[in-house]
Symmetry: C2
């Protein structure tokens, strides 16, 4: 792990060495409160996804403004955040390895813990882990709702799995995981609407089939930053899991806005410096190890005249009109193409307010892949 | 930093939790020795690039078989490897920040240290740092040789900078950095040959111009895994900087082979497991946080019938003939598209021999961006 940056609270932002992951605290707080207010107004449980930030400090701030808990994608991620004081975590993923399930179940000593299932093998393994530890754990069935990833395809299979969970002593059937990840970056709101209509119809069919068997579905959970107003309007979902809204990366910014969504703004940046200059381009010190390019290149905050191009491991090229190119040592704020894997490159987030260092938070679950 | 994996030397490889970064130690050692032998036979200094592995253990093994030192891309990377016992590091990059140069100069207490320049500002800053610390530091001029990144374009400017370095008391003019990064993945050997012919001609012109001024150029350094036989045959370069050869990622594997190069094989893998199954695809537990996709998707080792597709943060989709798709919990070895940023996601490399854990090495410089 990289050492904590040698900065004091109140230091001018220009003292931050680049590249660095910085957070505009005012914008972050506005995003934080806007989502909390949305959930409150719409009567939705809010369970933000912490795979975005992997940071206990941010998770606790999300819960302080009303989130019922957070989501994680990995058991190790959940463990790091529980260690950091987070009291309610849903692992929105399937886990099969017995030793890993044993670790997950042990977390119930300190937090409410939930997990998803989409197979009988997963059920058997989770049930054994819970029985061994004499713990009861919240268990969600994951349904395929259009993302083409995990989740059961046949609603009858999902219903059967829920009935089995319901029939065990060690597992508590807590609800339905119905996340449509593939809908999040459909650019047009109408495309996203069609995708979530389909997801909601499948979720509703599952709920109806279980209700007909006398089993209630306490929580129907899903949604991301690209679609949550649609799930909130569906009449089926009662919990939303957006993650990226706290940071708003370039890829989400490229979506056609949903009029029902608060206007989240970019709060997270990779701060970079010009390290070499040519007549027709500038070279900055932020390349493939400073931000993830899986969802396209970063935008340059406040500089629509400049474009990022041709990254290598530790360099990026900045192009634009010659007279507008930044000089040696000039700093730029890159808006990451995809915030989640970008944050996962850093051990520290440096929060800024009024051009001063306001806080330095560890990325507690960085690299937690297991 | 993630905890050291709970494994003992000699444990069966199936005990490794996935995803994990694993190293086939036999293949790694064959790659290590093949490059050392190439350099020895051709009378070239070998200075492997450690941005690939960021691991002091690997750097020391490279030096034990004949490398004169290693390259790093960042001061923090150099610091971590010197801390790990590496005694000779060239930072193949430009650094302007005075506090960072001060840190670099301090490393000369424990190691031979070199660095590159491509500006008068860089020269002034480095000279001041060396004078302040009363240290002498090896200084290389970087020349643009076709990569269109850092380095001076005009040979006359590069010569003038070398003369200035030569005229300072605190800086030792050590040579020329002439790395053609853009040539490394030109697929056809003839394309790479044309690119390196151009680079070598520029390097030769620089050397001739300096020699005419009575200044010798001790080292002409450059080359990567895609082109080093060409630099070695150029008559100009006397040092090569390949990095990826120890691991051989998918992108390098896709190059048309150079008959003069040893046949390096893939030694580095992301070990992944199937966590969810559909009729027509399998979902594995290795996504964008387990390997970098900047240079394309990973190949599946030993399974040319399977393809990797549609990664999300923590998932990847495996497609192939239905009857050949791996079952739940089956393990696959992914050959990363690009090894350098993939290694940078992990805190540990698990070395395997004969299906047993043979060593666990820290990625000492993971996340060293400054």
């Amino acid at each position: 792990m990289q050492q904590r940056p040698e900065l004091s609270i109140g230091d001018p932002a220009e003292r931050i060495e680049t590249p660095a992951l910085i957070l505009d605290l005012d914008v972050f707080e506005a995003n934080l409160h806007a989502m909390a207010e949305f959930a409150r107004m719409r009567g939705m449980r809010l369970r933000p996804h912490a795979k975005t930030h992997k940071c206990a400090e941010i998770a606790k701030r999300q819960m302080a403004v009303g989130a019922v808990g957070i989501c994680c994608q990995k058991v190790g991620e959940a463990a790091a955040l529980v260690e950091g004081g987070v009291g309610d975590v849903l692992v929105t993923n399937e886990v099969l390895a017995p030793e890993r399930l044993a670790r997950l179940v042990r977390l119930t000593d300190r937090a409410n813990i939930g997990i998803c299932l989409d197979s009988d093998l997963g059920l058997d393994r989770l049930n054994a882990a819970a029985q061994n530890a004499q713990r009861r754990i919240d268990t969600y069935v994951e349904l395929e709702v259009g993302a083409n990833r995990c989740g059961l395809v046949e609603i009858s299979d999902a219903v059967a799995l829920a009935e089995k969970i319901h029939g065990t002593a060690a597992l508590r059937f807590a609800g339905l995981q119905a996340y449509q990840g593939a809908a999040q970056h459909l650019r047009m709101r109408a495309e996203r609407k069609a995708a979530i209509d389909h997801a909601a119809a499948r979720a509703a069919a599952f709920v109806a089939a279980l209700n007909a068997r006398g089993i209630s579905v306490p929580v129907v959970t899903g949604a991301g930053t690209g679609t949550f107003p649609l799930e909130a309007s569906s009449g089926v979902y009662n919990e939303i899991q957006p993650g990226s809204y706290v940071f708003m990366d370039r890829d989400y910014g490229d979506n056609q806005a949903d009029p029902e969504s608060p206007a989240f703004r970019h709060s997270l940046f990779v701060l970079a410096s010009v390290m070499s200059r040519r007549e027709d381009f500038a070279v900055i010190d932020a390349g493939l190890k400073a931000h993830s390019v899986d969802s396209g290149y970063p935008a340059i905050s406040g500089r629509p005249d400049l474009v990022f191009d041709t990254p290598s491991d530790e360099h990026g090229i900045i192009r634009g009109p010659r007279q507008a190119l930044p000089a040696l040592e000039q700093r730029l704020r890159l808006v990451p193409g995809h915030c989640d894997p970008t944050v996962n490159l850093y051990d520290w987030i440096i929060a800024i307010r009024a051009d001063k260092v306001a806080a330095i938070w560890p990325v507690d679950a960085r690299g937690a892949l297991n």
